[in-house]
C-alpha cells in the first residue's frame, strides 16, 4: 500500500512538471472553462427564462445538478482523460509490454500514471455553482457530506465504465472514439433526469447510468435523497469496479504485443 502511494507521488509530480511546460495551454484551458461555464448557464437559462421548470426542480436546484456535472467534467479531464485515452496508444504502439512487466498492478499503473492540471478550472467553477446555489437554498454542511457519498460512488462508476471501454482497445486497437461516445452520452447529466421523456429516463438510468452520476448526488445534497437510490449507486459502483478489474484480467489474456 505504502509503495503504491509513493509511486503515485512520483507519477503525479513528474506529470505536473511536464504539463507546466505548456503554460499558454493552461491559460487556454482556463478560458475554455469560463466559456463552458457561461454556455452551460446560458443553455439552462433558455429553459427557465419563460417560466418553465423541470418537474420539481427550481432554478437553483437545477444549478446544483449542473454544478455536479461540471465537477465531474473537471475530474475526468484531470484524472481520466490523460490516462485512459492513453491505453489505446499503449496498445497501438506495443508499449503496454513495459507496463505489464512492472512489479505493480497494471490497472493501477494505467489509471494513475498521469494527471493534468487542466481540469482544475472546471472543478473550481463546479464548486462555485454548487456554493452559490447552496447559499440560496440554505444547504447545510451535513447535506454536503451526505451527498459526498453518492458522488464518490458516481466517480467510481464513471472511472470503471471509462476504463472498461479503454480496455476494449486490446481487441479493437484504434478506438479513441469509444470514449468519445461515452462522453457524448454523459452530456445528458447536465440536467436532472426528470427533465427527459420516459424512454430517455429508462435509458439514462439502467443502460448508461447517467442518473447516478449527477441527479442522485444532487438529490442527496438537497436533502430529498432516498436511501434506496444511494444504495443503488453504491451497488452499481462496486459492481462496475469489480467488473473493470475482472474485465482487464480477461482482456490481457488476448493481448499479443506488437513488439515481440
Amino acid at each position: 500500500m505504502r509503495r503504491y502511494l509513493r509511486v503515485l507521488g512520483l507519477f503525479w509530480s513528474t506529470a505536473i512538471a511536464a504539463e507546466m511546460e505548456y503554460r499558454v495551454n493552461f491559460v487556454l484551458a482556463a478560458l475554455s472553462s469560463v466559456g463552458n461555464f457561461i454556455g452551460s448557464l446560458f443553455s439552462l437559462f433558455l429553459f427557465y427564462r419563460t417560466g418553465y421548470t423541470f418537474q420539481g426542480w427550481s432554478w437553483e436546484e437545477a444549478l446544483v445538478v449542473l454544478g455536479i456535472f461540471t465537477l465531474l467534467q473537471g475530474f475526468s479531464s484531470t484524472f481520466l482523460v490523460p490516462n485512459l485515452n492513453r491505453i489505446v496508444r499503449q496498445v497501438q504502439e506495443g508499449t503496454l509490454d513495459f507496463v505489464l512487466l512492472k512489479p505493480i498492478s497494471s490497472q493501477f499503473w494505467l489509471s494513475t500514471r498521469s494527471v493534468s492540471p487542466w481540469g482544475i478550472p472546471d472543478l473550481l467553477f463546479g464548486f462555485v455553482m454548487i456554493g452559490y446555489a447552496g447559499i440560496r437554498l440554505d444547504i447545510g454542511i451535513r447535506d454536503y457530506f451526505v451527498s459526498a457519498i453518492p458522488l464518490l460512488f458516481g466517480i467510481v462508476s464513471l472511472y470503471s465504465l471509462w476504463f472498461m471501454l479503454g480496455a476494449t482497445s486490446i481487441w479493437f486497437v484504434k478506438i479513441y472514439n469509444v470514449t468519445e461516445v461515452l462522453r457524448g452520452l454523459l452530456e445528458a447529466g447536465r440536467f436532472p433526469i426528470v427533465a427527459y421523456p420516459t424512454a430517455y429516463r429508462f435509458f439514462f438510468t439502467f443502460v448508461i447510468p447517467v442518473a447516478f452520476l449527477t441527479t442522485v448526488p444532487a438529490e442527496a445534497m438537497l436533502g430529498r435523497g432516498e436511501v434506496s437510490w444511494v444504495l443503488g449507486a453504491g451497488v452499481l459502483a462496486l459492481g462496475l469496479l469489480f467488473a473493470s478489474v475482472g474485465f482487464w484480467r480477461f482482456a490481457l489474456r488476448f493481448y499479443t504485443s506488437a513488439s515481440s
Binding site: V24, G35, T50, N177, G184, F191
Partner: protein
C-alpha cells in the same frame, strides 16, 4: 484542367479506400455526435407545456436535422495539420506540386461519403421509432438546404484550417479550436433553436459565423422562417474574411516552418 480532375479523382479514391477500412470507427464517430438527440428529448419534454412557441414535433425534426447537419460538417483538420507540423511530415507534402490542403479536403470529403450510409440509417431508424416526426421537406427548402449545408461545411473547414496555421507558432493549436468549439456549441443553435434565444442575444449572434454552421441549414430543411439573403451573404462574408486570413498566415507560417527534415 484535365490534370486537376485526375488529381482530384486519385486523391478522393485513395482517401475513400482508407476511410472504409475503419468502418467500425466510423460508426462510433457517428454515435459520438449524439448530443442533439439527447437535447431533443429534453426539449420535447419541455415543449409539452407549449410555452416555447414550437411544438414537440418541430423540436424533434429540428434536432434530427441538427444531428444530420453535424454529421455532414464535422471537421478535424486541425489535429492532423498540427501533427504534420510538429512531426515534420509536412515537409514531404510541400515537395509535391499541390497545395497540402487538398489532401485534407479529399480526406474529409471521402469520409463524408463513407459516413453517409450510417447517418442515414440512423435517421431512418429514428423515423421508424417515432413516425409522428416524419416529414417531407418542401422542394424549395431541400434545394436551398443542399448548398447551405455544403457552404456550412466549407466554412467550418476553412475556419478550422485557419486556426491550424497557428501550429507554426505554438505547438498545440488544437487548444484554440477547443475554445472556439464551445462558442460553436452554444451559439450555433445546437443546444436550442435560435428562435428560443432572447431577442437581443439573437441579434448579436446572427452577426457571428456560428448560426450559419448549424441553425441556418437546419431551419431551411425543417421550414422555420429564416432570412435567406442575410444567411447566404453572411456565410460568404465570413468565408472571405477567413480565406484572406488563412492565406496570409500560411505564407508567414511557411517562412517560420522548420520541421524535422526541413
Amino acid at each position: 484542367m484535365k490534370g486537376i480532375v485526375r488529381k482530384a479523382r486519385v486523391l478522393l479514391s485513395v482517401y475513400y479506400a482508407q476511410m472504409v477500412e475503419y468502418r467500425a470507427e466510423l460508426v462510433l464517430w457517428v454515435l459520438s455526435g449524439s448530443l442533439p438527440l439527447i437535447l431533443m428529448g429534453i426539449w420535447m419534454e419541455a415543449a409539452q407545456g407549449g410555452r416555447f412557441g414550437l411544438t414537440p414535433v418541430v423540436f424533434s425534426r429540428y434536432f434530427l436535422t441538427v444531428f444530420f447537419v453535424r454529421q455532414l460538417s464535422t471537421v478535424w483538420v486541425i489535429w492532423e495539420f498540427e501533427k504534420e507540423v510538429v512531426e515534420g511530415k509536412l515537409s514531404a507534402k510541400l515537395l509535391q506540386p499541390l497545395d497540402p490542403v487538398w489532401h485534407h479536403v479529399a480526406a474529409h470529403l471521402s469520409e463524408r461519403v463513407a459516413r453517409l450510409p450510417f447517418s442515414l440509417l440512423l435517421v431512418v431508424l429514428f423515423f421508424i421509432l417515432y413516425p409522428q416526426a416524419f416529414w417531407l421537406p418542401s422542394w424549395s427548402g431541400f434545394l436551398l438546404f443542399v448548398p447551405a449545408v455544403a457552404i456550412a461545411f466549407a466554412l467550418r473547414f476553412l475556419i478550422q484550417y485557419t486556426f491550424a496555421m497557428f501550429a507554426f507558432w505554438i505547438e498545440r493549436a488544437a487548444a484554440i479550436e477547443q475554445f472556439w468549439f464551445l462558442l460553436y456549441l452554444f451559439l450555433s443553435g445546437m443546444v436550442a433553436p435560435l428562435e428560443l434565444f432572447p431577442d437581443n442575444v439573437r441579434e448579436v449572434v446572427l452577426w457571428t459565423p456560428f448560426p450559419y454552421l448549424i441553425h441556418f441549414p437546419a431551419a431551411l430543411l425543417v421550414g422555420l422562417p429564416v432570412d435567406l439573403g442575410r444567411g447566404f451573404l453572411a456565410m460568404l462574408g465570413w468565408f472571405l474574411v477567413f480565406f484572406v486570413g488563412n492565406r496570409w498566415l500560411w505564407r508567414r507560417g511557411l517562412k517560420r516552418y522548420s520541421g524535422m527534415g526541413a
